[in-house]
Subunit: 225 residues, 2 copies
Amino acid sequence: MHEIFLDELKKLNTSFMELGVFVNDQIDLATRAFVDHDKTVAKDLVKKHSQIQDEATKIEEEALKLMALQQPVATDFRVVISILKAITDIERIGENSVSISWETIRLKGNPRSSEVEAIISEMTHNVRRMLVQVLTAYVQDDEKMAREVAARDTEIDLAYVKVRQMIIDKIEKDPQKAVASSSYFMVTRLLERIGDHIVNLASWVIYKTSGELEKLENETEVQTK
Amino acid sequence: MHEIFLDELKKLNTSFMELGVFVNDQIDLATRAFVDHDKTVAKDLVKKHSQIQDEATKIEEEALKLMALQQPVATDFRVVISILKAITDIERIGENSVSISWETIRLKGNPRSSEVEAIISEMTHNVRRMLVQVLTAYVQDDEKMAREVAARDTEIDLAYVKVRQMIIDKIEKDPQKAVASSSYFMVTRLLERIGDHIVNLASWVIYKTSGELEKLENETEVQTK
């Protein structure tokens, strides 16, 4: 009986990781399409939204089934619970990347800023690295790594604040950029939100490993000067 | 034994509802402070952030304890799971209202638009009504009401798209309003996100009532013309 459970749990873990990696690719594709003004790719990514949602729901259903039928205890209990909770953050990261694609679809060939787009690319790079690392920490039950990843969310928050001020300055100089700027606001905010979800994932790694519900700070709102 | 469990479950339900109602008040206070440019109230609301987080974590811990020690089945299982999942949406609604307060703190006495602020007030009113109704649907196991509330999220999404276009038009006419406008973008987006979390809550009411994991659509991204 316990062997069957462990087998099911292994499958669940694999599905969870696979969706995490898939979503990580989506972030890359979404911001790249945004920077390239590629509406065709963006529309394609929007279509994949329901795929992410369906897969997340399937994982949730599986976790609930395991929980109800097998009534796991101790470590097994924590593994199932952490997947049941963390899957929502993976799903939200997917939603945020779909929202980035919507920003691309809404673009109207307005004047753009290569300076802001460079920061967006860098934020994307950092956020994706953090996501891979938190997923690795999850597999390896590495609480220390989870904490390190979470601490780096501050860099993402600072980049967001910086780019926001940059956008405001640009609009004041050149109001014709207002439409493009509204997209910049949103895309950087969405990346910042993805960073917050990664912090939540780190908290679930800690729960899975230690049994402690320690919520790491994910809302380092930084006051602009 | 089961009587003690039911007693604990009742307490858990009460705490969940109380936090829901508290968070609903926070939305009101946060947007009112934003419209009134009241930084004192905003700073006070930011301080309450950890209070919401701590209470949400306490509810989560309690739900996990009940789940692990009592291994509830059938309806009881669904009630505990729905609280365990829905509490995150309540917490996020709280976070979003704190982010609104941060926008207030960042304001710099820039020229404002009463037209946009009127829509923000209306969005707040609608979102808060939806939150009260979904909490009511939760207590009464009213799946029909939950679906009705979720369907009304489209109105929130449309208001967001409308106000966004309005803000862009205003910036193009008067670039000096760029800083205030970035706040308008954010506050309306935050209210729109609160609407999405209410839809998630509606999905958990359906799960609690029927046992079905039916995710209601929460991301009606509407393409601006």
